[in-house]
Amino acid sequence: MAAPDGPGAPRAAGGPQSFPGWPPTFQAALERLTIAPRRPAQGHYAGAVRSRRRGRALEFAEHRPYVPGDDPKLVDWRSYARLGRLYLKQYDEERARPLTLLVDASASLDWGEGAAHKGGYARRLAAALAWIALRRQDPVRVWLLRDGAATPLPPVGARAEVPTLYRHLGSVQERGGTGLAAAVRAALAGPTRGPVVLLTDLLDTDWAAALAALAAGGEGTVLQVLAPDEWEPPLGEEVELEDAETGALCPTRLGPAELAAYRERLAAFLAAVRRECRRHGLAYLALNTATPLQEVVLRQLPAAGVLV
């Protein structure tokens, strides 16, 4: 495990199961939230979310005629006594909705100062979503995306295991390239049930392919994390911009004309991402890391339908 020396390294927090950087009352506020179901739960384990699987649960769904091979224990004998025909009672099983968090850990996320650090912001947000999911006993799986690969963190099935998850998340240091599409495909290679949340800046040339791969994995949500300086770069002199991931250089002048061109390209980029997410049925929200995490989690994500 990497040494906890990144911007999002664990620090003293509100409680033993609080993620470093969370406001003191934030964790309590999360208790009121739930990951919004966008389709019935398909988990293997019983959970708090009603699934489409009919089975032996408490909530009656329907009757159907008995066919040979059906479990005799499901026969509704009362109906047989009254009607003289064999019927089976169907119930909606409440199954778990595992949450998959795909956290971009490339070098482009290592940007920003303090609370606005993109990587730390994404990890704090991921920790919040995990906490929300675990409140409903939904298992949480976190993947770190970097260099075209996906590295899983230990799965978490209960809140008792949260400190381990948070410790891992807190020790992540963003570095390396992205290879976002390949990394998403790698993370979603197995059978995926439940919501998948991609936390990334999408600053990758194959971002569209990554969204397509995410859409193929199920009910996806894209939370695009951008730092304030990426939303509105400051004016400056002639500089040589260096790509944090590739090391490529770009001589330019941070003059009004260049910044105006940047803003145009950013707007076009965000519009394209939004359009692509809509096409794939993905929930999408572009976030400014200058926005307090509480504001995002408690207001913006519910407003976007990601949380309820």
Partner: protein, 605 residues
């Protein structure tokens, strides 16, 4: 196109230097960003970590290249040698006598002056004009004037001369003033006598602005007189330069008194002579004057009069004070212009008071207590110790020894004379000077330190030559002679012995002082006419008559002539001073392009 400073073209290396600077990757502060995905720029540039970059077609690049190129061109100072509009105009203004012809108003010189002023008023901003007056002594009236004002001021008081012009000197002056591409403009009637082998400098342009047209003229081509006893015969020459017959009268005046009139008639380009015989003697000078000639047939007035004077040149009176010297007496008797009178040394005290009657006194073996007040030649004065010269050293370059060969001359005995520093040794010896001269004001003295009988000099061919030179120097022979000069020509006036003042009187009574201070300044007759040069002193008065004729065959011919000045082959001269170059426009271009570069750069910020 030529260059004044072609070495400055090396500055053109600034152009590739500018391109090189654009090829080099600028050293800028590096700023890390999450991604370059949203920043403009070519991927090739982004991937390049090399110290150079691909040349971008940026307006600033081309503007900077233009500035560098224009700077190099301006520093090299290009100019157009001959075809360019900017040039030095060198105007040769004909001021010879024919320019006084009145076939155009007010006269040809006035028309030429107006033409020069028109040229001056049409000067461009980078043009300059130099005006050379072409007359007997050409001179620059105004040099490199850049506006009409100085030219007008320089020409305001100018008038044509009366005689011919020295065209060769004027052209040489113009050539000396031609330091670059220039245009020569001759303004005149084409009557200048240009040397046949003259060629104007290469690269110079040439124009001839003709003034005047076909004009007729009648001139008194000469006036001569001969005195025989108490009768005088006067003959005048007439010449017509017109294409039509012409008639008129010729008046003859004796000292302003009309003594005769003759009518005459001349055919085209005709010539005739009119004679007045048996005129009573007594007049000192005569004047012939044309009258009754139609103005259309006589455009030039300056040659309508001619003068002749009766020569008053008497032989120079020389007093020889000698106990008897055959050599001297014979030499003086054969010398033209000398009338010698002999006296014995014993008679000298009686003659001393009347010595002023003799401009020159020759003292042979005689040393008076007081030397004559006039010029004197002392031969073998018996003063000083005797010596026997073994070696004789004549000054070969002295004008008094010209053509006199002293190589064979021997002197047996000479006297070491008490000569002070005012004496100039002409012939020296190992014992002392043998011939010395000095000039004190108008008085001149020469001394031979040996008796002629003690030398073989009188037997040598050098003796009459030496004596003639001495007599000419001691008593100039031109006193009293009539001298014909051209108007405007400087006439040297030899100071007469005993003269204290010298002046010139014109026929109209005008007077011009010549001396003191001595020697007299040269006299330049301002106009055709008769002038008397008078030198006077205590008991003496000497007159010399100058006749300044107004006729010159070339100036009297008023037929228009084209004047061509062929150019020498070769490369044009380099431009001088940049006045004819157009580099200032390039410099202005540098400024404008620099402003455009600043604007483009500021707009991009």
């Amino acid at each position: 196109m030529s260059w004044e400073a072609p070495a400055a073209l090396w500055l053109g290396l600034a152009v590739p230097a500018v391109v090189l600077l654009w090829l080099l990757r600028p050293r800028r502060p590096r700023q890390r960003v999450p991604s370059l995905l949203l920043w403009p720029g070519s991927p090739a540039e982004r991937q390049s970590a090399r110290p150079w970059q691909r040349l971008r077609h940026h307006p600033l690049l081309w503007l900077q290249v233009a500035v560098a190129a224009l700077l190099a061109l301006a520093a090299a100072r290009p100019y157009l040698p001959a075809e360019g509009a900017s040039r030095h105009l060198i105007v040769l203004l004909d001021a010879s006598g024919s320019m006084r012809a009145r076939d155009v108003a007010p006269d040809r010189f006035g028309a030429a002056r107006a033409a020069v002023l028109d040229l001056a008023r049409a000067l461009g901003p980078d043009q300059a004009m130099t005006v050379i007056r072409v007359d007997r002594e050409p001179r620059v009236l105004v040099a490199e004037a850049r506006s009409a004002g100085p030219v007008e001021a320089a020409l305001a008081g100018e008038a044509a001369a009366y005689g011919p012009a020295d065209a060769a000197a004027a052209l040489a002056l113009a050539a000396a003033l031609t330091q670059g591409p220039a245009e020569w403009i001759v303004v005149g009637d084409g009557g200048l006598a240009v040397p046949e082998d003259f060629q104007r400098p290469p690269g110079t342009r040439y124009r001839f602005l003709a003034v005047g047209g076909p004009a007729a003229n009648v001139a008194v081509s000469g006036l001569a007189l001969r005195q025989e006893g108490d009768r005088v015969t006067v003959q005048a020459g007439l010449r017509s330069m017109g294409a039509a017959p012409v008639a008129g009268r010729l008046q003859l005046l004796a000292e302003d008194e009309l003594v005769g009139v003759q009518e005459w008639r001349l055919g085209p380009a005709g010539e005739t002579y009119l004679t007045w015989s048996a005129l009573p003697a007594g007049a000192h000078w005569y004047e012939a004057r044309l009258v009754g000639v139609p103005a259309a047939a006589n455009a030039l007035e300056t040659d309508d009069r001619a003068w002749a004077a009766v020569s008053g040149a008497d032989a120079t009176r020389v007093l020889l004070v000698s106990p008897g010297n055959t050599f001297l007496e014979r030499a003086l008797s054969v010398h033209a212009g000398v009338r010698a009178f002999r006296a014995a040394p014993a008679d000298w005290p009686g003659l001393a008071g009347a010595e002023t009657a003799y401009p020159l006194t020759v003292l042979d073996r005689f040393w008076p207590e007081r030397l004559p007040r006039g010029s004197a030649l002392l031969v073998g004065p018996p003063v000083g110790e005797e010596f026997r010269p073994q070696e004789i050293w004549p000054r070969a370059d002295h004008p008094l020894l010209r053509y006199a060969d002293w190589s064979e001359v021997r002197v047996a005995v000479a006297h070491r004379l008490p000569l002070d520093a005012t004496w100039e040794t002409v012939v020296d010896s190992d014992g002392g000077p043998l011939l010395a001269v000095r000039a004190e004001g108008q008085r001149r003295q020469a001394v031979l330190a040996f008796d002629l009988a003690q030398s073989d000099l009188p037997l040598r061919p050098a003796f009459p030559i030496l004596l003639a030179s001495l007599l000419d120097w001691l008593a100039p022979r031109d006193a009293g002679a009539v001298q014909a000069v051209a108007p405007g020509a400087a006439v040297a006036v030899e100071p007469a012995p005993l003269a204290e003042v010298a002046w010139v009187e014109g026929a109209d009574g005008t007077r011009a002082e010549l001396a003191p201070p001595w020697p007299p300044r040269p006299f330049q007759p301002p106009a055709p006419g008769l002038y008397r040069v008078i030198q006077a002193g205590e008991g003496m008065r000497q007159e010399r008559v100058l006749v300044a004729g107004g006729y010159d065959p070339r100036e009297a011919d008023l037929a228009p002539r084209a004047l061509d000045l062929p150019a020498a082959a070769g490369e044009p001269l380099p431009a001088a001073g940049g006045a004819l170059a157009y580099w200032p426009w390039l410099a202005l271009g540098v400024v404008l392009v620099s402003l455009a570069e600043w604007w483009v750069d500021a707009r991009g910020r």
